[in-house]
């Protein structure tokens, strides 16, 4: 069964002056559990809009999006927020860490909004956060603040934050965009490890080198799917 099913998805943005932009048109595909998919395209191709719809941050203008059997169109804003919290993890190009919080506090952030974690003791919360930090090999930097971390470390903290509630899907939006190639490769190897650990990964990128880690590449052009191909990951050896 597909984890994500998208049917005839369309998104149109209307400016305050009334001008319309068709960001996505008639997009259909499905993603199975434990797939590693890269969504590629040039700037303005609609890939970020697609990620935002898949990540439940915005709703489509038309079409259907079914996540794990649930029709997203039927959900309220509050339900979408809870689903985002429990089932989805995000990694952003700009890291988006809270500057004033420590590494541990940043990783604990999703737990503040989790229904599941509501009854957890603070000890259990910390254990979860530490486990996520161990996965990205930053268990020793819990008390540091983002200002004391390198770019790669910041992105690894963001990945730990995405992992802390053990989501079904991890969305990464240009995860290496702010990193040098060496650090970017380290971060991508982390995604590869997560994939090996049965996580579903969806990466948005315009860089071939980043997409090369994926099993499947969906290419968008002018808001439509240009190609949807299986792809042999060139870097699987990193995870071994």
């Amino acid at each position: 069964m597909s984890l994500i099913q998208v049917q005839n998805l369309a998104k149109t943005f209307t400016s305050s002056a009334g001008a319309q932009t068709h960001a996505l048109r008639d997009v259909s595909f499905s993603i199975k559990e434990n797939e590693y998919v890269a969504i590629m395209g040039q700037s303005g191709s609609g890939k970020s809009t697609l990620l935002h719809i898949l990540g439940l941050l915005i709703t489509p203008t038309s079409g259907q999006y079914i996540l794990n059997g649930q029709n997203i169109n039927d959900l309220s804003e509050e339900d979408r927020a809870h689903l985002r919290n429990s089932s989805l993890g995000f990694v952003f190009q700009a890291f988006h860490l809270l500057a004033r919080a420590t590494v541990l506090e940043n990783v604990l952030l999703p737990l503040a909004y989790s229904k599941t974690a509501l009854g957890w003791s603070s000890q259990k919360r910390q254990q979860k956060a530490l486990a996520a930090l161990d996965q990205v090999e930053l268990g020793h930097r819990t008390r540091h603040t983002p200002a004391q971390l390198s770019g790669g470390e910041k992105q690894r903290v963001a990945i730990a934050r995405a992992l802390v509630l053990e989501p079904q899907v991890i969305f990464a939006d240009e995860p290496t965009g702010n990193l040098d190639s060496k650090t970017g490769a380290t971060v991508m190897r982390l995604f590869e490890n997560l994939h090996q650990a049965d996580h579903t990964i969806i990466v948005i990128t315009h860089e071939t080198i980043t997409a090369d880690y994926a099993q499947r590449i969906i290419t968008l052009h002018d808001g439509q799917i240009q190609s949807d191909q299986k792809h042999e990951s060139k870097y699987q050896h990193y995870s071994k």
Binding site: I58, E78, F92, H96, A112
Partner: protein, 414 residues
């Protein structure tokens, strides 16, 4: 999200900008300080005045010439009025006119100062009966003898003096039998009063009392009285006695329409009610004025919260991305506003308590008044609750702005 989590997030955010948070809260501190202090001081003043009035005694009725003053313009008319004279005393003393009357003692105030040799002092001087002073105010004499009804009849030039008057005019030397000068007249000191401080609007220690006849005819050369102190008999209804007094004086003055009264009669109950009304109106007016500071403080909070929402746009986007609902964001920013104002309320209330304590100390020590220490619990509650409500009201708009932010736009914000 749990409220405790929202509070914890809010506290961290406020701590991160501590200096700004403290400056923001200053307006609330001043507003709450002003309100709590106003309530505290006006209640203190009310208690003091009420206790002074109660000190006169429940059976006491006071008659004054002129109309009951209803505004500042009436006061001059009341002071200058000379409508209460000997004929009124005679009429009131007739048992068939005022059967409930027990005692009647007229009083005449004497403006000016008193001197002895080169020492000059400006005390409160009035003519009364020694018996009334001793009975009504429960004053004791430490040296000498009180002047007598015979002294009143003969307009004797004798005075009883308070302890401070004695000290100011005579220092360490003996005052009894000495003559002090008031106006062009020399009066002999026949008694010294025991120190008693403030009693029913009079500082007994700063008092010179002479026979009312002396004050009226000899010193001021007038034929009217400034006040009549009347004691109703024990068990008599004071209101009924007061009404008999009104009827008698109206008859003496040929007044048929009570609106044309050229005198007024006050009972202790009347005075208590009047003072309570005045202090309540005063308190409400002062609170209303102080509230302006609170509104200004609230606008300051709203302004800073709006700045904070803009500054933290990316953070709002991130929180939404990791699962925060609009309501969660709203609660978080509301919590920040409420924590700011409630802590302002607490600081303001604490300062008000400290200042109120200081004022009480100063009034008691410098003015020798029995000012009660008043920091009413309701003033503290009003302070903290008002501050919290201000936080909710002025924090609502910025919190809604934060909650309404589009997560995508927020995440793009640099």
């Amino acid at each position: 999200m749990k409220l405790t989590a929202a509070t914890s997030i809010a506290l961290k955010a406020l701590k991160a900008n501590l200096a700004r948070s403290l400056l923001t809260v200053l307006g609330i501190v001043i507003g709450i300080l002003a309100i709590v202090l106003m309530v505290s001081l006006s209640q203190g003043a009310e208690s003091l005045i009420l206790s002074e009035i109660e000190g006169i005694g429940a059976q006491t009725i006071i008659v004054r010439p002129g109309r009951q003053p209803e505004g500042p313009t009436d006061i001059a008319e009341t002071i200058l009025s000379d409508s209460i004279k000997d004929r009124d005393l005679a009429a009131l003393k007739r048992p068939d006119n005022v059967p409930g009357l027990d005692k009647l003692e007229p009083a005449v105030f004497v403006p000016g100062s008193a001197s002895y040799l080169d020492n000059i002092y400006r005390p409160t001087i009035f003519g009364w009966s020694a018996e009334a002073l001793i009975d009504i105010f429960d004053i004791k004499i430490v040296a000498g003898e009180a002047f007598t009804p015979e002294d009143i009849r003969q307009r004797a030039k004798v005075v009883m003096i308070g302890d401070k008057v004695r000290a100011e005019l005579f220092g360490q030397s003996d005052a009894l039998g000495e003559f002090i000068t008031i106006g062009d007249h020399k009066l002999r000191v026949v008694a010294i009063l025991e120190p008693a401080g403030q009693v029913s609007f009079f500082n007994i220690d700063e008092l010179i009392v002479m026979p009312y006849s002396t004050a009226q005819r000899t010193i001021r050369n007038i034929d009217h009285y400034d006040e009549l102190f009347i004691q109703a008999k024990e068990g008599e209804n004071v209101d009924v006695v007061a009404e008999d007094i009104r009827a008698t004086i109206r008859e003496t003055h040929n007044i048929s329409n009570p609106d044309k009264d050229d005198f007024f009669v006050n009972t202790q109950q009347n005075a208590l009610e009047t003072i309570s009304t005045i202090t309540q109106v005063l308190t409400i007016s002062l609170i209303a004025i102080s509230s302006i500071a609170l509104v200004v403080g609230g606008i300051g909070i709203m302004n800073i919260m709006l700045v904070s929402v803009t500054e933290r746009t990316a953070e709002i986007g991130l929180r939404k991305a990791v699962g925060a609902t609009n309501q969660d964001i709203m609660i978080q920013f509301l919590a920040e506003a409420v924590i700011l104002t409630a802590s302002g309320g607490l600081i303001g209330t604490t300062l008000a308590v400290a200042i109120s304590t200081l004022i009480t100390f100063i009034i008691r020590s410098q003015f020798n008044l029995a000012w009660p220490y008043q920091v009413p619990l309701n003033a503290i509650l009003i302070g903290v609750i008002t501050a919290t409500v201000v936080g909710l009201v002025f924090g609502l708009f910025p919190a809604r702005q934060a909650a309404k932010k589009d997560p995508i736009e927020a995440l793009r914000y640099e």
